[in-house]
């Protein structure tokens, strides 16, 4: 593996890391369930970019494309299911507030 290949990879990597941080930041900070899914999307975008860059940098771009295609299908389904779950929660709570989903029956110490 020559250094030129590595350079492409390394030049992309700070941006990918930043993208990861943005996604995680979003998940951590928000109150809103849908906003959490936005953060998740950003994370997935970062991962997709990482795969493509890795493929391009090593010349296995075909393999990387196959991976990305499959990845996108999975991403859509998972996000759809997650959105469905969010809507389900909204129907019960009538709110998208993450604070409302802390469960009441949290672990408690037994009286013994």
């Amino acid at each position: 593996m020559n250094s030129e290949i590595a350079r492409l990879f390394w030049s992309f990597s700070p941006f990918i890391i930043m993208l990861f941080i943005i996604g995680l930041y979003c998940i951590f900070v928000t109150f809103n369930l849908i906003r959490v899914l936005v953060g998740v999307e950003v994370l997935m975008k970062a991962a997709t970019l990482l795969v493509i860059v890795a493929g391009a940098a090593t010349g296995h771009i075909a393999l990387a494309q196959v991976i990305v295609v499959t990845l996108i299908v999975i991403e859509v389904v998972v996000i759809t299911i997650a959105a469905g779950v969010v809507i389900g929660i909204w129907r019960h709570n009538n709110s998208l507030d993450t604070r409302k989903i802390r469960q009441i029956n949290d672990e408690g110490i037994s009286d013994e």
């Binding site: 995680l24 998940i27 951590f28 900070v29 993450t98 604070r99 802390r102 013994e112």
Partner: protein, 611 residues
Amino acid sequence: MNIMLFLPIIVPFVSGGVVLLVPNRLPVLQKAITIVATALNLALAIFLFKQNVSCSLPWIGFGIDFALRVYHFSAFIILACSCFGFLIAIYSSFFIQKNFRANQFFSYFLITIAFTNGAVLADNLLLMFFFWEGLLLVLFGMIALGRPGAFKTAMKAFIIVAITDLCMMIGIAIVSRLSGTFIISKINLPPSAAGSVAFVLLAIGAISKAGSMPFHSWIPDAALDAPLLFVAFVPAALEKLLGIYFLARISLDMFQLSAHSFLNTSLMVIGSVTILLAVMMALIQKNYKKLLAYHAVSQVGYMILGIGTAVPAGIIGGLFHMVNNAIYKSGLFLTAGSVERQTGTTDLEELGGLGRKMPITFICFLIAAASISGVPPFNGFFSKELVYEGALKRGFLFYAIAATGSFFTAASFLKLGHAAFLGKVPPKYEHTKEAPLAMLIPMAIIAFFCVFFGLCNSFALQKLIQPVLHQANFHAAEFEGFKVNAKLTAVTLIILFAALANHFFGFRMRGKAIAAADHIHHAPVLSFFYAKAQEKWFDPYDIGLRIVNMAAGFAFRVDRAIDWLYEILIVKVTGFFSGTMKRLHTGNYGTYLFWSLIGLAFVIIFLSRSL
């Protein structure tokens, strides 16, 4: 021939399975199967006695075979176990009450015999451990069969024994690593640090099986809660034989211990502490069975002390005491059984004057009690003298403790006998009758053995103990008869008289036989410790429970603390970034995410440091 070795395991196990299927409507059939199976087992044990064969079948691979071996020692233990099994089976034919899950009891009883035989015969450490742990399961079942509250006791016993068995598991793993084999007869480890650890772990398993302190605390509870036959058979006889057998195996064959090593000394310390503390507890008991149970613990101390001395007299004494103790202790429990069956109680406050109503039981009790107190010429006397002699060679302190134990033993049995069998008959028990014949015969046989092993101790030593020690170049013949140290005998006699005097002193003072030991109970310093002991302050199991509860509570608070820390931390960080405190918050999943990211960081750091 080789197949004969499997029969002592298979016969009781299969018949145990059969008994389980017999409904409780047919008690006669259950008892018949049990008696026949134990008789067969006895016959097999007699046949195997004096044989020296081994065989093995391929088992689970990794060089672990189903290897069995019978030789002098194991044959002798098996013979003793099957004798007791047979006697208890006869005794039980009258003892089992109605509404009792008798099929389970008999089934567990037979399976216990099968597993004990297996553990004794096994020539492979893992196979032995398999049977050893299996015994735990039946132990649990048998205790849980007792009166309604017995489940708690069963659990206590289970956990205590399980912990020590797990220690044994590690010990076995270390031994196999050091010696490269699981075959017991091939293991002979020279002294080493890892070897010492392994020895300690295995010894913990052995002495806890034998019921020594600090692993004893379930036995007194079980005496009250569990079925009496179980107590008479398992903790009183079987487990002593098995535990001391294994202790002797590891300290004589498997490890080369130097005579005055730290390990031997610590065994002696455990032995003497057990003798003293357990007997002190026994002294103040007001219940027939519980008093006996504490003695069952105390007597183990003599055996461990004897084996720990590592001098010929002590080892021979310890092994001899193991046999004698099994005899008189199960005899004593059987007398308790008779009393319980005829009067319905074992509370000493209520009993009295039964000697006239139940003369044969009384005589058997007298013999066994004399034996356990070490009155010449009963068997207990000879084995105790040997242990004393061994202990004296290793230090006066050990001897003094053992002798003190003897004093308290005698005192407590004087109290017990006086309270239960002498004095006035309470009006309730005016019409008490002697126990049925099938219960008297086993007691009589046991009493006979007490006398026989005492008077003909040379027979017992030569035929039973000597073959065990042939490798060690000991000569049991040297210790026959009254050739033991005359001074020691004199001291023993003095101690016995002192106990008698003490009893009459207490009796005079309080005017009641049952209160004859109260002046010791209420002595200035002792009363404090007694009170604490009654509150289970010294029970390792209860201490353990408290610690575990505390740890669980602590873990719970740490959990909360992380939660709290996280909220504060995230609030600060995000406040720094966005300037708005309100937008900050997470549900619980945020905490989990946070943990996961911390974990990720940890993993990466861990890997990059060590790669």
